[in-house]
């Protein structure tokens, strides 16, 4: 790998709607995205030189589900293939690295998840410490509640701020055909709802979703051949913090700030930011960590509060940001993905249009 990275762009995207329950298989969700992308770009499956997927077998409770998922990508002809048991934003990061090796120019990234068959609040404790957290059934909703309280106690946010994030996200989602929860609900009405994991109310949580997304990455002139306006990846970085919430300041996100610095967020104005706000208080933490001001439009898609196809949710943030650039609606965008409770691990990607 040379010291100057090869220019890589997002040249095509596809996503399924977020479904509360998709009554068919995960490979079929993936297949719809892949077929859509091939049809719209005119690419042949054999021109996708590397494919990588992000998914989680625990979600649908099917051992080796990630192998069946290759049916959806297209098992034939054989291809260099990889998988991460992480949100597919990290699969995109691996695809970007793979393209840096210089021998191939086009890669396909897939993210997919079906949360509907399982019980997410019982599945996700398995990603916590197996000695001191998982046996307590310590779930991400409870941990998000603890983070929310820390923000309130520190005077950084109010419950009204949380409700405003929800109200705006789900109102914006009304123009997103793939959104699952899209409605205009006034803040005061939200604040009248009972607590679920106080200080969080149910609407502060993401919906349970099934869905998939796909992104094609291409290098240099190959990208310009495939797309009229590629969304160039100008920086991408990801950082992680301790898995012990007690060792972190939950009112900030150090790893997001580090990843933002690594990706070069502050080097120019940010027109649009698509942030993986699974719980409404996270938007407040992320805006501060990324240094975004009111000039940046945050989550015009509605974000994860409008649709949360786990393992694709982070990739969808990158996809939505890229779509804004390819459509000419934005020149410079930031996409963020997160993994682990209370924003434990964060990926930041800066995208730009040309000219």
């Amino acid at each position: 790998m040379s010291t100057t990275p090869r220019d890589v762009a997002i040249v095509a995207t596809s996503q399924t709607p977020s479904y509360r329950l998709f009554n068919d298989s995960e490979p079929k969700l993936i297949m719809r995205c892949v077929n859509d992308i091939l049809e719209r770009t005119g690419l042949d499956r054999s021109e996708l030189q590397f494919t990588i997927a992000g998914s989680c077998d625990y979600l649908s409770g099917m051992p080796f589900a990630f192998v069946s998922n290759i049916d959806g990508v297209g098992a034939w002809p054989p291809v260099y293939e990889s998988h991460v048991e992480m949100d597919a934003a990290w699969a995109l990061n691996e695809a970007w690295l793979r393209l840096q090796l210089g021998d191939i120019d086009v890669a396909l990234v897939i993210g997919s998840g079906k949360s509907s068959p399982g019980r997410p609040r019982e599945v996700f404790p398995l990603q916590t410490d197996p000695y001191v957290m998982a046996p307590l059934g310590l779930d991400p909703v409870s941990l998000a509640g603890i983070q929310a309280r820390a923000l309130l106690d520190a005077g950084i946010a109010t419950e009204r701020d949380f409700a405003e994030v929800v109200s705006r996200s789900r109102r914006d989602a009304q123009s997103n055909p793939n959104a699952q929860v899209a409605k205009d609900v006034p803040v005061d009405e939200l604040l009248d709802q009972p607590y679920f994991s106080a200080p969080l109310r149910k609407h502060d949580l993401p919906p349970i979703s099934d869905g998939a997304a796909a992104v094609v990455l291409a290098v240099g002139d190959r990208a310009r051949e495939i797309s009229e306006r590629p969304a160039w990846i100008r920086g991408i970085d990801h950082r992680i913090e301790s898995h012990h919430p007690g060792l972190r300041d939950l009112t900030t996100s150090t790893s997001t700030a580090q990843a933002a610095a690594g990706a070069g967020v502050s080097a120019g104005p940010v027109d649009v930011a698509e942030l993986m706000v699974n719980y409404s208080p996270e938007e407040i933490v992320l805006r501060r960590a990324l240094g975004l001001d009111d000039a940046t439009r945050v989550n015009p898609s509605g974000g994860p509060l409008a649709g949360h196809p786990v393992m694709a949710t982070g990739l969808v943030r990158i996809l939505e940001a890229a779509n804004r650039i390819s459509a000419g609606e934005a020149q410079r965008a930031v996409a963020h993905a997160s993994s682990g409770p209370c924003l434990q691990q964060n990926l930041v990607c800066v995208l730009e249009g040309e000219g």
Binding site: L21, N23, D24, S25, P27, K28, M31, R32, V34, N35, Y58, S60, G61, M62, P63, D71, G72, A75, W76, S116, P117, G118, R119, R121, E122, V123, P125, L126, P130, Y131, V132, M133, A134, P135, L136, G137, L138, D139, S142, L143, G145, I146, Q147, A148, R149, A150, D153, P194, Y195, F196, S197, A198, P199, L200, S242, H244, P245, G246, L247, L250
Partner: protein
């Protein structure tokens, strides 16, 4: 359906003494420079540098640094009725950790409140041996220490999964109840898949009800294995048994994992012709049929019986091993 994953983990030099102390009614922190971390760690959290185990008893009282009220506990939570998860900084510790507070009501909770540890009657050397209550309602406890140090922990992960049968699986199940085996013919390749996954994985073509076809309930053994059961967690078998792949007449993919008990192992072979013997219609049961692998043949068939026909040529069957 419930999937179980029985995890067994060694505890190591720091978690082991921490869990042993919990079983014995004490909570340990670990020194890290001039700080005390609770729970204790094997490494310095900022640098990852190894820490020599250096324990100090902390608690049993402490302060709530943040908390949430769990209005609807899951079956995996420590309490059936609403409780708080809280970041608790124990007296003598510099870092908080998350644990459960049985406070009775959200009104009893506040940031900065004092809580105290209570140990459960039955303890096994696990984080669940302890819980917390508002300090004023804590009761004095006499905890009898155990014998051996805790070197192993077991954690049975059980995930409950439920989903409706996919549309093509519903039609497959309805066919079985009528004594018919329904597959699907790819509109692209013409190949017949049984049972169908609802798509052709070579051409990435989705299939619909219009692609349904019936295949024969007889065919040729295309592959098999004789399984000698190992007694792992959840194993129900004790005697060797056959699992076979059978290429049904009219199909281009074999049915796999077919349970065969009635044919002696030394008479079983690739190419052997078999006929399905159905249970009487009223006895057929497809309740075990899910969206996953296999066809739940055992619920609808008595057995597979040799037809007495000459064997099929085994060579082309190599393509249909799995």
């Amino acid at each position: 359906m419930t999937l179980e994953f029985p995890y067994t983990r060694t505890t190591g030099p720091v978690v082991g003494p921490f869990l042993t102390a919990l079983r014995d009614g004490k909570i340990l922190g670990g020194r890290c420079g001039d700080r005390v971390l609770c729970p204790p760690l094997e490494y310095e959290p900022e640098t990852g540098a190894a820490l020599e185990p250096d324990f100090v008893e902390v608690g049993p009282g402490g302060v709530v640094r943040s908390w949430t009220w769990v209005a609807e506990p899951t079956p995996k939570h420590p309490f059936d009725s609403p409780f708080a998860f809280a970041l608790i900084q124990l007296d003598g510790a510099d870092t908080p950790f998350v644990h459960a507070v049985d406070a009775g009501s959200i009104d009893a909770m506040s940031t900065g409140m004092r809580v105290a540890a209570q140990f459960r009657e039955e303890r096994e050397g696990a984080i669940t041996d302890v819980y917390f209550v508002p300090e004023a309602s804590a009761t004095a406890q006499e905890v009898t220490p155990g014998d051996e140090p805790v070197r192993i922990t077991t954690h049975l992960v059980a995930l409950t999964i439920s989903e409706p049968l996919y549309p093509h699986r519903v039609r497959f199940a309805e066919g079985l109840l009528k004594g018919r085996i329904i597959g699907q013919r790819s509109p692209v390749s013409g190949k017949v898949y049984v049972p169908s996954s609802g798509y052709d994985n070579l051409s990435r073509a989705e299939m619909t009800e219009a692609d349904d076809v019936e295949v024969a309930d007889r065919g040729s053994v295309s592959s098999f294995t004789v399984i000698t059961p190992i007694q792992y967690y959840g194993q129900k078998e004790t005697e060797p048994y056959i699992r076979a792949s059978i290429l049904l007449d009219g199909a281009d993919s074999p049915i796999i994992g077919v349970d065969v008990r009635n044919i002696p192992v030394d008479e079983f072979r690739v190419g052997l012709r078999l006929q399905a013997i159905w249970k009487p219609p009223g006895d057929r049961d497809v309740s075990e049929l899910g969206n996953r692998f296999g066809g739940a043949w055992e619920g609808v068939l008595e057995r597979w019986e040799p037809t007495g026909e000459p064997d099929a040529d085994p060579r082309p069957l190599q393509e249909f091993a799995f």
